[in-house]
């Protein structure tokens, strides 16, 4: 009898304290992190975790968890900036390294270092953010198309401007698509601020088509996917070949010399009503269950890099050994200008 009544009283006390302390009071006390019964998780629109995992988190944490997904990575960060004084939720997942610096510069986040983040994930470190997963954005090729025509599959960015590969490539617009922005950064990383626009002009002269989003490029114009399009080269992900497996091999491959690495982060929103819950959610995203669910559900590599990968990934979706890099601070300082310049010159 006794333990039960203790539990009931304790439970009632917790419930009372949760109800009785409104968010404002908690933010008034900067020392102690806030907590409440509910947790609102803001994500990008591609976020999907299996229901079992979501339920498991809700059960273990005891929170009523709501997920909100207002847009892609860029839209998401801009909305967070706009709602700084009344945050959309407690914790955010889905900010990527092309927009990460805007979030930290605008003071949208508070610091948190998750104890669940292993040392081997330090390579992804970013201000105030916790890496959850990553992936490479690369040009993909339809292998059969090249075999049939006895043409070598191109391997480098420069190959793409070779007249041999005229009218074969489809890209996406950096101003409207996240892989498009990643590839723009790859060209800046490879050709430098002075050379990237000339490179794009050369791509254009070589007949590159630029679609507004990935879906259209991959499914309408690319020959190696289900849409049966006319072009054998497309901007996609290093993991895409794992989804075009035909028996013992994949019909497509990623050109690993053309990749830009995208890293996706989670962070705690400043002014969160449930900062403790936000921390728990970030730790949960780094837990072995979630990390091993990431490839199949989010199509990214787990940030905890010793997590076991699906068999197809190990065989058909290798990562680039040396992706093209642009430092985060540089992206933060110049991203908008680069996009503007690109749209003026190319778009």
């Amino acid at each position: 009898m006794k333990p039960l009544s203790t539990a009931v009283i304790a439970g009632a006390l917790i419930a009372l304290s949760a109800c009785g302390t409104p968010a404002q009071e908690q933010t008034g006390n900067p020392g102690a992190p806030s907590e409440s019964e509910t947790l609102t998780v803001v994500t990008h629109d591609a976020f999907t975790l299996p229901d079992e995992l979501k339920e498991k988190f809700a059960e273990e944490s005891g929170y009523k968890v709501t997920y909100v997904a207002p847009g892609d990575s860029g839209t998401l960060v801009n909305q967070l900036v706009l709602t700084k004084d009344a945050p959309l939720g407690d914790v955010v997942y889905g900010i990527d390294n092309t927009f990460a610096s805007r979030a930290s510069d605008e003071g949208v986040l508070v610091d948190y270092e998750s104890p669940a983040l292993p040392g081997n994930a330090q390579q992804f470190a970013a201000d105030q953010l916790t890496p959850i997963d990553f992936g490479d954005v690369c040009i993909n090729a339809d292998k059969a198309w090249f075999e049939e025509r006895k043409l070598d599959v191109p391997t480098t960015l420069d190959d793409l401007t070779d007249p041999e590969y005229k009218d074969l490539l489809v890209l996406t617009n950096p101003a409207s698509s996240s892989p498009g922005l990643a590839f723009l950064l790859a060209t800046i990383g490879a050709k430098g601020e002075d050379g990237y626009l000339d490179y794009w002009k050369a791509l254009q002269d070589n007949g590159a088509k630029i679609d507004s989003d990935w879906t259209e490029a991959y499914y309408t114009d690319f020959s190696g996917a289900d849409g049966d399009g006319p072009r054998p080269l497309v901007l996609s992900y290093a993991t895409s070949p794992a989804y075009t497996v035909d028996g013992e091999s994949s019909t497509t491959e990623a050109l690993l010399g053309t990749c830009f690495r995208q890293i996706e982060y989670a962070g705690i929103l400043k002014g969160a009503a449930n900062e403790i819950g936000a921390r728990k959610f970030i730790d949960f995203m780094l837990s072995p269950e979630v990390q091993s669910a990431i490839p199949e559900n989010l199509y990214m590599y787990p940030a905890v890099i010793d997590t076991e990968l699906p068999e197809d990934w190990a065989r058909f979706a290798p990562l680039a050994s040396s992706p093209i890099e642009v430092p985060a601070e540089e992206i933060g300082a110049n991203r908008d200008r680069w996009i503007q310049e690109w749209t003026e010159a190319i778009g």
């Binding site: 629109d45 709501t66 997920y67 909100v68 706009l82 009344a86 630029i210 996917a225 908008d336 003026e344």
Partner: protein, 554 residues
């Protein structure tokens, strides 16, 4: 007029004003306030006011190109929709033939398709090796305008057709008896009486076309931009609120001008019609007499609508190059993207039903008020303004309103940002203008003599409303409900801003499925698109049959 009568008339007006307050308050809270709040942010950076946004935006040649392209493409799309839609309205509402209902359902399908689906369907036809690739239309303004017509054709067909089916045929018959040729009857009798419905449809198509963001993004391939895509770009990608605010105001000016013009045209041309309750005059299709509308409509149905929709259906029935229903089986049986098909369909239907109830209730109020016939000029002016106000949501950027929601409805008592309630509300804001515009021409066309007769016979205004106007309204109600439901069913712009991933609607599921690589998800996305299109077609067909009892016997 005796004193008592004047008093009761005065009381009547107070009543109307109170009734007007309900939809006005709704629009103020869920449209005007959020949009204004975001636009104001563009002029006030927290410390001081600034008009830099205007200078920057209007000194850029990009802006002028976008404004020019917006006007040109929307005008072309409106003209084409009318040219193709009026013969279509005749054929589908004035003649009888086998398959007419199916054709009516088919032309509405595009109305609900999410742009990502249209991108895939049109893109496959227009690309170099596509069925229509020989025409070289990929990435041209022609493709963009064709897609706008694809989306909006049914607006003209249905708005004009519903009116046409109810015109008293004796007027035209009299003309013919007096020796007028068919063309002359059409020009001098039929078209003028249809003008209010035509103007109504035209203004809807113009607003839809000028604010279409998705079509221009997908089919414009960066070369063509509209004010709407510029606002989207500046807001969601650059967070340049000053530039976006300047553009939003430009958009508002254009929309207001368009509405003012259409309002004037309508005021000049509205005439009382003798509407008859039945479609008794629908004649059997006669190839010789109806050859022209038949040819025009056949081309539209086959090339413009049939090919993309058929292509979608055909491809949804394939997996790995072979004919198969596996896409549908997987869609129905597997749970993907955090939701299964059934719960997504349920969410879609429930949300759309809620949005429809809201939009139709408010729309009926607005239409009733706007169709009053006050004697004074100022009264008439106020009503025209009121009517236009309710059309504004169609012409203002969804991004502006969506971002506006984030910064306005963010505190108790109206902290609705992550509330599921906001989705039907946002959809109702979008559907409301359609409801108003489909109901108004019907109400306006009531013969004033009928209202006067009712008053002479001693019926008060409310009784007249109940016995004369509401039954008339019933006729347009089916169409209005159908449009509202279809709009909400396919709505993605507002929904995507407010999306709750654990409760996705069908368009959200389609968007997610298309966003993943792999034959499986691609096939399921196609199948889900076909399902959505089918739901829309069924809804519109049902809405047309939905006729209030009292009308059938009236």
């Amino acid at each position: 007029m005796d004193r008592g009568h004047r008093l009761s008339r005065g009381a009547g007006w107070v009543g109307w004003i109170l009734i007007a307050a309900v939809p006005l308050a709704f629009l103020a809270v869920f449209f005007a306030w959020p949009a204004a709040a975001l636009i104001l942010r563009g002029f006030h950076d927290g410390a001081s006011w600034s008009l830099d946004g205007f200078t920057a935006v209007f000194s850029s040649s990009r802006t002028w190109k976008a404004v020019g392209f917006t006007l040109a493409s929307a005008t072309a799309s409106t003209a084409l929709c009318l040219a193709l839609g009026v013969p279509g309205a005749y054929l589908l509402y004035r003649t009888n033939f086998r398959g007419r209902s199916a054709l009516r359902a088919l032309v509405t399908v595009p109305f609900v398709l999410p742009t990502v689906v249209v991108g895939v369907a049109f893109g496959a036809l227009l690309r170099e090796d596509g069925l229509l690739g020989w025409a070289g239309l990929g990435g041209t303004p022609t493709a963009i305008i064709a897609a706008m017509v694809f989306f909006n054709y049914s607006v003209v067909v249905r708005t004009v057709g519903t009116m046409w089916s109810r015109l008293d045929p004796r007027l035209a018959q009299a003309g013919a008896t007096l020796g007028a040729s068919a063309l002359r009857v059409l020009r001098t009798v039929t078209v003028p009486t249809l003008t209010p419905a035509i103007v109504s449809a035209a203004s809807l198509v113009f607003l839809f076309s000028s604010s279409s963001y998705g079509i221009v993004m997908v089919l414009g391939q960066n070369r063509y931009r509209t004010i709407e895509t510029e606002i989207w770009f500046l807001t969601t990608q650059l967070l340049d609120l000053r530039g976006a605010a300047a553009l939003s105001i430009t958009q508002l000016v254009i929309v207001t001008a368009a509405l003012w013009l259409s309002g004037r045209a309508q005021a000049r041309m509205t005439r009382a019609l003798r509407l008859q309750p039945d479609v008794a005059d629908a004649r059997r299709l006669d190839i010789r007499r109806d050859g022209f509308p038949l040819a025009v409509t056949a081309v539209v149905a086959v090339v413009l609508i049939g090919l993309p929709v058929g292509n979608l259906l055909w491809r949804s029935l394939h997996r790995d190059g072979a004919l198969s229903v596996v896409n549908y089986v997987q869609l129905a049986t597997t749970s993907t993207m955090g939701s299964d098909l059934w719960s997504a369909t349920r969410t879609s239907l429930v949300t759309a039903a809620a949005a429809t109830v809201l939009a139709v209730l408010l729309g009926v109020l607005v239409a009733l008020i706007a169709s009053r016939r006050p004697r004074g000029r100022s009264g008439r002016g106020a009503l025209t303004a009121l009517e236009s106000v309710f059309l504004l949501p169609l012409g203002v950027s969804a991004v502006t309103v969506g971002f506006g929601y984030l910064i306005t409805l963010n505190r108790p008592p109206l902290d609705l940002r992550s509330s599921i309630v906001l989705i039907p509300i946002a959809q109702a804001v979008v559907a409301l203008p359609l409801v108003v515009r489909t109901l108004l021409p019907v109400l306006r066309a009531i013969d004033p003599r009928q209202l006067q007769a009712s008053a002479t016979l001693g019926a008060g205004p409310w009784r007249t409303l109940l016995r004369v106007e509401l039954p008339h309204l019933g006729r347009g109600l089916g169409l209005a409900t159908g449009f509202a439901f279809a709009t909400s069913l396919g709505e993605f712009g507002a929904t995507s801003f407010l999306a709750r991933p654990d409760n996705p609607t069908l368009p959200v599921v389609i968007f997610r499925l298309f966003g993943r690589p792999g034959a499986e998800t691609y096939g399921m996305a196609l199948a889900a698109s076909v399902l959505l299109a089918g739901l829309a077609a069924i809804t519109m067909a049902a809405a047309e049959r939905m006729r209030p009892q009292e009308v059938a016997t009236w």
